[in-house]
Amino acid sequence: MTASPIHIVLCFDNNFWAPAYTVMRSISIATKRRADLDFHLCHTGLSDEHRADLDRIPEEYGATLHYYDVRDNEAFQRIGRKGRYHPRLTHIIYARLLIEHILPPEIARVIYLDCDMFVRAPIEQLAEMDLEGYPIAAVRDPHSFHIIGGRDMRQNQDLFDLADPYFNSGLMVIDMEGWKKANLPGRLEALIEDGTMDRLYFDQDVLNLVFRHNWLRLPQLWNTLTPRKPHEAFDPPNLHFTGPRKPWHLVSGVAFARTYRHVMTNDLFYRYMRFRLKRRLKRWIGMK
């Protein structure tokens, strides 16, 4: 056992607290270095009840949580609110482009994870891997052709070459020094101002423009996209539930759906379901 902290950053809003809890708990279950875990939670306001759920992570595993309400963050206010808005993804997705303004400056290495993930392997394998001098490590996005190329693979040809490797930004191992050198906040601001942002696939395209040919490729299964039952046999270290089916749905057909429910804990799983139902009902009757 070493005492070096493992920094992990998650970005989510109040509606996503339960999956955020689950990805933290999955990490805590799969490593023995539980006391070394430092979770940095960037959010846009959390209810007391949801915060109490998240606080069960330090209680159960001795990990440390740090909360950052990005609404109070000057950089996020300035840039994040200008970016393109997606009703499902919301503005919180821009938080990860601004982590250098949010996290304590002394952090040298951080792992960013999307909240629709389920980690099944010791996270220190990423936290302590050799980045070979690259600012980030990530997994190639199997859908890159579609994301970049668009219709008939002819869109945005001035910005991207389909033959260039393109990563999924749901999982990134980040060397903060290299990351800061790339000046993401400045690049983001410029892209918003010159209108390029309107043609991009949100922050993932931005990250790929900024770190083009400057990222280390991780094994594919460290970010197994849209995992289904057939993937279970590959013993993937990390699942990424992209696509419309989510493991927190009552019937989802995704890989390890049952295990996921137990990682989320059954109480929270069903409470999260009632929360979503209530929210949807409110929307239907026009209360929200």
Binding site: A163, D164, Q220, T226
Partner: protein
Amino acid sequence: MPSTAIHIALTFDDNFWAPAYATMRSVCLATHRRADLVFHLCHRILPPAHVADLKKIETEFPAVSVYWYDLDTDARFADIAARARTNKRLSNIVYARLMFGELLPAEISRLVYLDCDTYVRAPIERLAEMDMKGFPVAGVTDALTPFVSNRRDLMTNRDLFDPADPYFNAGVLLIDMAGWRAADIPERLDRAIADGTLDRIYYDQDFLNLVFRNNWLPLDFRWNTMDPRPAHQGIGPHILHYTDRRKPWHLISGTAFARTYRHVMTNELFYRFLRHRIRRRLLGLVGIGR
């Protein structure tokens, strides 16, 4: 041809011109080495409209070279096609790949063969320039081994194929042309036709497995991911091979990357190919054409 050329051969008949285009375009999109790409198209008679579609590759990627080989004017192909067993779905175009040694320019030392129901997603040079460790061919173990060769109850052709022997899928092959020529395929084929072997095996794939038995380099399954479904998308396949009845050019296919494939084929050609197949089927129903 540049000395760094990447030679890629496709074999197809007119009914497959659109998938051939999609395979070629996928190769071109996924590599920066476009100037090194040399396609060798071994084809049956193509109407001018379909030739024009295929020539769009050179318009979109001017650095790419394309060479055409008209099999219908080739006496050697006519001879084999007349003598060998044919299949309604595959047609005798499948034997074209057995003739690479004779058909293609002698200076080619390394060749990538791709079936036209493949979709390439990785830089092709990673396959083309792989260390073949002295083997004449490299391929991926067929997903249906040993059913392909031993068929019903795994009892068929046991004199020819031991189910315990590795067996490759011939849809994606990396070929060392010197080793290929040394195997003397025309002579072996003549013998297989003469002694009736060819009549009881699974076309050219079985034949190639007989010729190169225990003399081929197995590749990672990602280089020929057979019958790919959406679940395969997440494990990073390099080449998808739509071996099943489901094809990505069907309107609804349930195959991996079906939507992306449509955009690789381009939407205009995708729907034109659909109309082409419907028309062909209708004509077949009323007994005109085939």
